[in-house]
Assembly symmetry: C2
Homo-oligomer: 312 residues x 2
């Protein structure tokens, strides 16, 4: 399991590639919720999503000349982009149903796209198979110490950017981001609470914390398409059990409401996965402890069609 | 003419009402332009626009119990909101053609709306007449020392938030914002250049700087509906002649492009008037001196219809 030292090493490695994104108070959201709401704007990253932190940190340390990833979206874009910068060949296994915009982004950075099935498990099997056949490294989207350490740089920055705060709300997919952030925050601000936020249709972390074991969600579903892995990883489960203070589930209506509020009130375009952590603050503010709350807006890769729908 | 002292006094007066808005680097815009682009996010203000700074500063100093403003938009909302907070009665003279959204905002803060003609000159005549008849104070949108000092707090914050920068790009309507900002910046960072940006269809400042006198633009027009006054004021002209280093004009296509780029790349929803100062950086980057450039994103009051059009 990475610790603060590994996160700090990652921060040096990714400097100049991933951005040190702004952490800003949103007066509109503060007024709306009666708290002081700070947004960590990962939608300002190159490729508009935090995933570049972990992917670049991982790939920059590989000796292999080529990498394979299985992804339907942001992780694939991050691996393609990082590989492009590092002069490595990337192959991304995507679902048969992948949307044109995502394929364009992946191929735009020179990665090869391979289609396989519709389930994440099918993609992972295919990806690992390709990696073995070609002597490539398989880059897991979250269950990897270097990936977690990379995502942890987001928490390191938060702790450096804001001297005092009570809670951090982090969206949970496979748990890479919250694992990394919680490692940094608990090391640097041990009194600060770290909460996960996940869709009610994909409650991996809630189920895992309750069972105190990894639980597979049979058919995860949500408009927050970055939060759909069916289970936590071994490492991310271990980090969350140790560090995470609780988890909120958000309904689809709440995620939609949070995405709209980010656009209409905070004037920030976030993808539903990136707006989801605002949902507890909007709809259950008294359940979020403390006055000063950081919301990790993990990404802004929303399709034009969905954005139009949200603003309509 | 107000100086830095008056701006600092205004900052104390408006504290807790207007927000100290974030100044953030946009890595997306920095990459796109090859500069370091910092956004001063006035779209994060209450009422989503900088106008609250000047209106509240002015109205808080009035002995009159009631105020009148002539406005088709943001100034009217700012006067209504500030009056509401200060317990004064506000009347806003709007054009016959005013859109529902703006009227709702003004009336939502308890102000009375009076319709008069379609030209800003007709509104001003009517507003001054009403003020005289009722013993109310008339609050000019820009040509007033207290309004200018209030807008100057935006420049004060920029100079406090960023230690070194080369240029500031400010949208120009009647010149209140650029007057205030330039007073602060020239006092605190005399080596920094301050540039205005105005629509090609409403080039009041360009014409005034060229003629070295106030020039009336016969029929100003632009999608940037906050930048349509037909002439500079006496005070704003005097401040700009002294402090402003130059002015860029932007075509409608460039303003549209800048508004789209703010949304699609920087992930910030700005109104066209607020995105306009990005236009020279996008379309004529070599004309903007220096490496570190601040763009004053003056507001985010864009109608839903226009926003949909821009994102489509």
């Amino acid at each position: 399991m990475p610790g603060l030292k590994e996160v700090k090493d990652a921060a040096q490695r990714i400097a100049g590639v991933a951005s040190r994104t702004p952490l800003v108070e949103s007066p509109a959201l503060s007024r709306r919720t009666g708290k002081q709401v700070y947004l960590k704007l990962e939608c300002f990253q190159p490729i508009k999503v935090f995933k570049i932190r972990g992917a670049y940190n991982k790939i920059s340390r590989l000796s292999e000349e080529s990498v394979v990833a299985a992804s339907s979206g942001n992780h694939g874009i991050a691996v393609a982009y990082s590989s492009h910068l590092l002069g490595k060949k990337a192959t991304v296994v995507v679902p048969e149903t992948a949307v044109r915009e995502k394929l364009d982004a992946i191929q735009g950075f020179g990665a090869e796209v391979v289609k396989a099935g519709t389930l994440s498990s099918e993609r992972e099997v295919k990806g690992r198979e390709l990696a073995r056949a070609n002597g490539s490294a398989f880059v897991h989207p979250f269950d990897d110490p270097e990936v977690i350490a990379g995502q942890g740089t987001c928490g390191l920055e938060i702790a450096e950017q804001l001297s005092e705060f009570d809670s951090v709300l982090v969206p949970v997919g496979g748990g890479g981001l919250i694992s990394g952030i919680s490692i940094s925050i608990k090391a640097m601000k041990p009194e600060t609470k770290v909460f996960g936020v996940e869709p009610m249709g994909a409650p991996k972390l809630s189920a895992a914390l309750k069972a105190r074991d990894i639980v597979t969600i049979p058919s995860p579903h949500s408009m927050a398409d970055g939060l759909l892995p069916s289970r936590m990883g071994e490492l991310t489960f271990a980090a969350c059990i140790r560090n995470v203070d609780g988890v909120f589930t958000a309904t689809e209506d709440e995620i939609l409401g949070a995405t709209k509020c980010m656009a209409n009130e905070a004037r920030i375009i976030a993808e539903p996965s990136g707006a989801a952590p605002l949902a507890p603050l909007l709809f259950h503010p008294r359940d979020v402890p403390g006055k000063r709350v950081v919301v990790v807006v993990s990404g802004g890769n929303i399709s034009q069609a969905l954005l139009m729908q949200i603003l309509a």
